[in-house]
């Protein structure tokens, strides 16, 4: 009985994470179209509902009502399983994200490793989708995607190593609390190169512009999901945006102090803004990174494929390796104001 209640409680918590996440994904698509539209001096979607606010629901409805086309000669089961395999890790990673102090589904010690693991799993769905749809464009897109994800994962992993060296823990809550003090204690300052490397490889991991080699409309039609229509396509879309939000969340946890207030430690403002719950700051920081995603998309042209690989292997990884050594020395010799606190 107790176990069942426990399981029910966990299921409710999962629902409390996944539902807002899905709605955020829906509105992120709208925000993306709107922001890019304004950057192009257009208006963007404004017909469905007030100011176009119901547009995402119209899109979802359209996609769900469309026919699922299964290509002939394709591997039926794998073809249908692929979107699920992309979406599942994108959602599962949210289990360890602390939204505020103590507000986390699973407060595990190896949280950072868990997130890294989940992001490395998402490549399977892409590979399987490309292979199972029995199309050369999908196959090429999948191979590109997998190569890109595997390469940038290394740079991202090294950025994580820098953070866990600085915080002395893999627990995400501990990492955030290690950044408390004031805004200068956030890790974006001592780990600035790693912050940039993390962000660039995060954009590359999610296969977003300017690293959207996977889709590359002008080169390989639409990449690995070219054969998908209707609900399958919707799931890929959902996973991509859920991954974007995840990368933004992890970036704000690791480098921008998660739920910590930016006014912490400033005499007067600290008290003025004390009433704001940590969740609000966390969401605001995530919003900043999401805006950055859209901004990048509106600004940069697509990378050439060999240059993507060169950037990953020959620029980002050496930077992280050097900065890990620097951070190790800073931690060893307690260089302030970041690494001289007791207990770190």
């Amino acid at each position: 009985m107790d176990t069942i209640m426990n399981l029910l409680w966990i299921a409710l918590k999962i629902l409390a994470i996944v539902l807002p996440l899905t709605i955020s994904v829906a509105y992120l698509t709208l925000a993306e179209r709107k922001v890019i539209a304004y950057m192009h001096s257009r208006i963007g979607p404004n017909r469905v509902g007030f100011l176009g606010l119901l547009q995402p629901f119209a899109d979802v409805l359209k996609l769900l009502l469309k026919e699922m086309v299964i290509p002939s000669q394709s591997n039926r089961y794998l073809f249908l399983a692929a979107p699920v395999l992309v979406l599942a890790p994108a959602l599962a990673a949210w289990a360890v994200i602390p939204f505020s102090k103590g507000l986390v589904l699973a407060n595990i010690n190896a949280g950072l490793l868990y997130i890294f693991m989940m992001s490395s799993l998402s490549v399977y769905g892409v590979l399987i989708a490309g292979w199972a749809s029995n199309s050369k464009y999908a196959m090429l897109g999948a191979l590109r995607a997998a190569a890109q994800t595997v390469s940038y994962e290394i740079a991202m992993g090294f950025a994580f190593v820098g953070v866990l060296l600085a915080a002395g823990s893999m627990n995400l809550q501990t990492i955030v609390l290690a950044q408390s003090g004031n805004i200068l204690h956030w890790y974006f300052l001592p780990l600035l190169p790693l912050f940039f490397v993390y962000w660039i490889s995060g954009v590359a991991e999610t296969n977003r512009h300017p690293f959207d080699m996977v889709e590359g409309e002008s080169e390989i039609v639409a990449g690995f999901h070219v054969e998908y229509a209707g609900a399958g396509f919707a799931l890929f879309f959902l996973a991509e945006y859920a991954n974007m939000i995840l990368i933004s969340a992890v970036a704000s946890l690791l480098f921008l102090g998660g739920w910590l207030s930016p006014f912490e430690g400033i005499p007067l403002l600290e008290n003025v803004f004390a009433f704001v719950p940590g969740l609000v700051w966390f969401v605001l920081k995530m919003g900043f990174f999401l805006f950055l995603y859209i901004w990048l998309r509106a600004t940069f042209p697509r990378y050439r494929y060999d240059q993507v690989m060169r950037l990953g292997w020959k620029v980002l990884i050496p930077i992280t390796l050097i900065w890990i050594v620097v951070v190790s020395f800073a931690v060893k010799f307690n260089i302030g104001p970041w690494f001289n606190q007791a207990g770190v």
């Binding site: 176990t3 399981l7 590979l127 399987i128 191979l143 997998a146 595997v150």
Partner: protein
Amino acid sequence: MIQQFIFYLFSAMAIATAAMVIISKSPVRAALFLVVTFIASAGLWILLQAEFLGLVLILVYVGAVMTLFLFVVMMLDMDGIELRSGFVQYLPFALIVLSVMLAFIILAVWHTSFGLGHANPSKETAAYNNIALLGSVLYTQYAYPFVLAGALLLLAIIAAISLTFRGTRNAKKQRVEWQVSVRAQDRLYKTSMKNEKRL
């Protein structure tokens, strides 16, 4: 109760998918079943409170090694029937190896040395940190073997590259530093043309 349920779930999954790796006809499917086997055994490790090993198993084997493996298998158009052509020919040898391995396994997991009494996982508190413990042993007691293993891996990387690298014969190499340092003035120039006279 729930722990046992999870244990049996993962064990059944590991055994079933491991069998499928051997049985399945298509190499890609076999590789995918192997992925599931890894995930199931990682789940078992996490159940034993070895969360670091479990996560690293998924990270390294599933996230990196099997991805590259799948890459290769997907690129090669392998025929399942051709792969099992020598089945009868190799069967006697395989049976000998099988019986020897089975004997070892039975010796190891016979009921006198196997069971919950022998392998009951210790119940640790929430403060128990698997990673810190592993690290402290790895970097003190086993520091030299650890460094040695690292050197060996480096050697393997260099050996693999030098074996497959055939030099740059007739290669049209892109000089990235030249590409990056190019300015518009190097490539474009403005000309002012005279207006043509009206005839």
